[in-house]
Symmetry: C2
Subunit: 201 residues, 2 copies
DNA sequence: CCATTACTAGATTGATCGCTCTATTTAACA
DNA sequence: TGTTAAATAGAGCGATCAATCTAGTAATGG
């Protein structure tokens, strides 16, 4: 008899998820219909339901994937470079098409989390995950004497994370905003916040 | 013959808008149905359409009202107190029920703005409005020698505004987060960013 | 090469959507 | 108080929703 190919199955599932992603960015979780997703993926509704039991499952899988890959990407960025450079990189690229779509999805997930406890839990976990990555970097930098030892790493990391969210929201609130000067000042801000205070003369 | 009472008409309209607001916070713009709004307002669908021509009009009116009252409230807060205190107040109250609902609505508007150019324009205008209020305060404070004259008021105000958004997003991403230490560090951050650098000894 | 099963399409389901229509009540002016 | 239009209710419209069902095809193991 014929056996199911788990690899092809997973590939198809991923293909549907990326199609659903495009629809969700365009129309939102509630605004995108199963028919839209099917059209985008080039399949029929009956076919789609062989891979996902419900629309909620698609939203859940999409949200979880977006959050975990986002956190993973941020982790890689932090490993490869200085944290301040990593922060600047994220902010600098906030207007980039893909990153903008990523953030729109994040916002969509934030809204959905208020109605979907599972998604809320994943959101909370991944947010803490990113904060933890930042906090660990801060702790290490404190040990190296690079940043103010008086700062609490957990609190400071939450603020830096919030700064990223805030910067990305700027470009959504006002797409025409000129980010060059803002980015310069953001670097000044992070520097003044983190660097050890000069000893009193 | 009977004449229309414009005051009662406006009151009823406002009543419907506040009912719609509750539905939108709960279910989102797309998720809330006309039937939901009617039930919440205690009226019939036919009745509702005597006050608004379409659901889109309700969303638009709700969004515009939320944005303008939000900007106005912020303006009042800035007039009555020192800007740093005003910022702290907004952040400190981020977990407050009403303010949380306000921010959820803001996020919903941000999403909708991607599909509704009118709402996008209002969003952009009100965001610039708030930034302008902040920038004016910064300029005045620079003239008084209270903050670093080397900072660009426009860029700095954008950052402070983003900081507000970021702080409010923290409590949505992780409702259990302890904001007390974060708020302390936020005050430190704003102080270090804005205060004039100590002259080199 | 046949049996079995995965894969796929598309019509169709009942429910719900935004919205309209008709009918009735209420209230203000003449 | 009679007339007229505003205020209100609720049934019902076609369209679309998420999801299912039926049926046919493709591909694999024996």
């Amino acid at each position: 008899m014929r056996r199911v190919d788990p690899i092809k199955h997973a590939e198809k599932k991923q293909e549907i998820l990326t199609a659903a992603r495009r629809c969700f960015v365009r129309d939102g979780f509630a605004g995108a219909s199963i028919a839209d997703i099917c059209a985008e993926a080039g399949i029929s509704p009956g076919h789609l339901y062989h891979y996902f039991p419900s629309k909620e499952a698609i939203v859940g899988a999409m949200g979880a994937a977006a959050l975990s890959t986002g956190a993973a990407q941020f982790g890689e960025l932090m490993e490869g470079s200085h944290a301040l450079a990593a922060l600047a990189s994220v902010i600098e690229n906030a207007k980039n098409r893909n990153l903008r779509d990523d953030f729109i999805l994040i916002l969509e997930i934030l809204m959905e989390a208020g109605r979907n406890p599972k998604l809320a839990k994943i959101l909370q976990e991944q947010s803490r995950n990113v904060r933890r990555i930042l906090a660990e970097f801060l702790r290490k930098s404190q040990a190296d004497g690079l940043i103010d030892p008086g700062l609490d790493p957990e609190a400071a990391s939450a603020i830096l994370f919030g700064l990223l969210d805030g910067a990305r929201m700027m470009t959504i609130r006002d797409p025409k905003i000129d980010m060059t000067k803002v980015l310069d000042h953001l670097k000044i801000l992070v520097g003044r916040f983190l660097l050890p205070p000069r000893p009193a003369s």
